[in-house]
């Protein structure tokens, strides 16, 4: 079943005199449970593509349908709620609210969703344990390593029970040990809970784990390959 249906997606940046076609006509679907890497050289349009897909950056033309909802037809308030309930985000760095502890960061999104306190606390504990840092629930982000912070970010992304998780270069700032740990965690989540993941990356180790690799160049899809892993 298709979770995401993308049609003729275009993004043109009109900064100064030059027009940059950051994304230049992408049509693609993503299915539930996929573990996809979007790869390509720097400046190829990965971030722009993911941002449009994640309801963060308005396309110049084309459509993004998530679970049947055309996200770019939503009002800006509705769009924020839609992101909260349907999309988990893991950014490259500084994902967490610095003044909240690891636990509070995870709980916060459920708080925004209006989940009852009991459920929030229980789920926060479970999630932090499942990403392997149950003992750091009371630590603030600054007290955690980069890898631990990304784990909290994954836990937070999962907390809202989204349709899929978008991760823009989640390992770019991590050393190799933390990178493989985080990858292991994400693929485990994917296999165990059938969570859909879409990464942008140019990290070979991430690609090696991916079961689908979409290669973008100059804002266009160059290759779309699937692997049995």
């Amino acid at each position: 079943m298709n979770v995401i249906e993308i049609k003729d997606l275009v993004k043109i940046y009109n900064s100064s005199e030059v027009k940059v076609k950051a994304v230049n006509g992408i049509t693609i679907d993503f299915e539930e449970g996929e573990f996809t890497a979007v790869v390509g050289p720097s400046g190829s349009g990965k971030t722009t593509f993911l941002n449009m897909l994640g309801g963060l950056d308005r396309p110049t033309s084309g459509s993004v349908k998530i679970g049947g909802t055309n996200v770019w037809e939503l009002s800006s308030r509705k769009l924020i709620d839609f992101r909260m309930n349907n999309i988990g985000f893991v950014f490259q760095s500084y994902n967490l609210i610095p003044v909240l502890t690891a636990g509070e960061n995870v709980e916060f999104i459920m708080h925004l969703q209006g989940k009852p306190k009991k459920e929030r606390e229980k789920r926060t504990k479970e999630l932090l344990e499942s990403v392997g840092i149950g003992d750091r629930i009371k630590s603030r982000p600054a007290k955690l390593s980069g890898g631990q912070q990304q784990r909290v970010a994954v836990a937070r992304a999962l907390a809202s029970k989204p349709e899929f998780i978008l991760a823009d270069e989640p390992t770019a700032n991590l050393d190799s040990k933390a990178t493989s740990g985080l990858l292991e965690l994400m693929s485990e989540m994917n296999r165990k809970h059938n969570t859909t993941f879409i990464f942008a990356t140019h990290d070979q180790r991430v690609m090696d784990k991916a079961r689908r690799i979409v290669t973008i160049e100059d804002g266009k899809i160059l290759k779309d390959e699937r692997f049995e892993r």
Partner: protein
């Protein structure tokens, strides 16, 4: 609730910056409270001074008397006139006066002066002339003597125990003449008054001017000048032509002008002070927002509505202001209390000037609530106003740009 917690914790991410910003507010509030306290203190002194020297807080007299201070424009002190003062709950004391010009002489010296006919007991609660007695005794209830101001007494060469001859025109042209024993010599701080005043019991004065039971004015007191507006509102309702009522401010417009001028100067200084504070807070807010751009972007991305983000930043700004305001007010209370109990003495020429005006040579401080809450409210409003900026920012921040920051 969570908003407030996040805002509060945000405040302490850069404790020094918060401390400096709140500290600038603190000193601003402290400084302007102390300044206001001194202004109010000195206005109070000046008002008290004219009020307690002479005019009282308010006076009732006839409309003709206001235009022409003649004995012929005096009025009979009936129960209904007394009732105006007696039935006013804000008025604490009142006293009748009969004032008019006279010639005073002793042997070959003669001088124009002013007779002030007073009820010795009632007047002692208002201008309390007894305070200025240099020699002799204050007038007793039905005294047939007079008290003479010191320079006048020197000129006439009279002293306690001597007799003074007075000659004037009485009510509707009757001749007024009499001899009065001098009971006391009075020395005012104000040299002008020292040349003119003769105090006499009001009964005595009425007899002298041939105007039994007549008075020129009824002088009234309230607890302090903050009570006056209410007293005046009630009086204005009660006093009808041919009578009229005037407050000290209407009787002494020059003093009001002087106070207003000084107040304007103070307001200008406070305006500059508050402007500096405003820029200080604003600068901090600008820095804070630009530093946290990415973080704000992440919060909106993961699902925080912009109004909620605005609320967090609003509270953060507000807290910064409130800490400064409360600290400032709490520090100014003991500070001004100390100064209130221990006025700062003024020496030298300025001190001399104070004395000539009849004031104690010192800067006094007021602890009127306005001294504090005015500063608190002003800074609070400034902070509210500045706090609109982060709200505006949280609505306009561009998500993709914030996330790339």
């Amino acid at each position: 609730m969570k908003n407030i917690i996040i805002a509060w914790r945000n405040l302490w991410r850069k404790p020094w910056r918060t401390a400096i910003t709140s500290g600038s507010i603190f000193f601003g509030v402290l400084f302007s409270s102390v300044m206001t306290s001194m202004q109010y203190g000195s206005y109070g002194d000046m008002i008290d001074n004219v009020v307690k020297f002479y005019s009282g807080y308010a006076q009732v007299f006839t409309e003709e008397y206001y235009d022409n201070k003649s004995i012929n424009n005096s009025f009979e002190l009936t129960d209904s006139v007394i009732g105006i003062a007696e039935n006013n709950p804000v008025i604490t004391d009142y006293a009748p006066r009969l004032e008019y010009f006279t010639l005073a002489s002793n042997e070959e010296n003669t001088k124009g002066s002013i007779i002030i006919g007073i009820d010795p007991h009632a007047e002692s609660k208002i201008t309390n002339p007894g305070k200025w007695v240099e020699r002799g005794e204050y007038l007793s209830e039905s005294d047939d003597g007079v008290m003479v101001a010191i320079d006048l007494a020197d000129f006439l060469q009279v002293d306690v125990g001597d007799t003074l001859t007075l000659l004037s025109q009485g009510y509707h042209g009757v001749t007024a003449a009499g001899k009065y024993p001098v009971r006391a010599i009075i020395k005012f701080p104000n040299p002008q008054l020292n040349k003119q005043f003769i105090y006499m019991g009001i009964k005595n004065a009425q007899e002298f001017f041939g105007a039994p039971n007549m008075v020129t004015s009824l002088v009234m007191m309230v607890e302090d000048h903050y009570d006056l507006p209410r007293a005046m509102r009630l009086l204005q309702k009660e006093v009808k032509p041919p009578f009229m009522v005037m407050s000290w401010a209407e009787l002494q417009p020059e003093l009001v002008q002087m106070i207003e001028g000084d107040r304007a100067g103070g307001t200008f200084m406070k305006g500059i002070l508050y402007m500096i504070i405003t820029f200080g807070i604003f600068g901090t807010i600008l820095m804070m927002i630009s530093e946290r751009r990415r973080e704000l972007g992440v919060m909106i991305a993961i699902g925080m509505q912009r109004n909620r983000l605005g609320a967090i930043l609003f509270f953060e700004t507000l807290f910064m202001g409130l800490i400064g305001v409360f600290a400032g007010v709490f520090a100014s209370i003991p500070f001004t209390y100390y100064l209130y109990r221990n006025p700062i003495p003024v020496t030298g020429e300025v001190g001399e000037m104070f004395v000539q005006m009849g004031l104690e040579p010192q800067f006094t401080f007021s602890m009127h609530p306005e001294v504090y809450y005015f500063q608190a409210i002003t800074v609070f409003i400034i902070t509210l106003f500045i706090a609109l900026f982060p709200i505006y920012k949280s609505y306009t921040i561009k998500l993709t740009r914030a996330l790339r920051a």
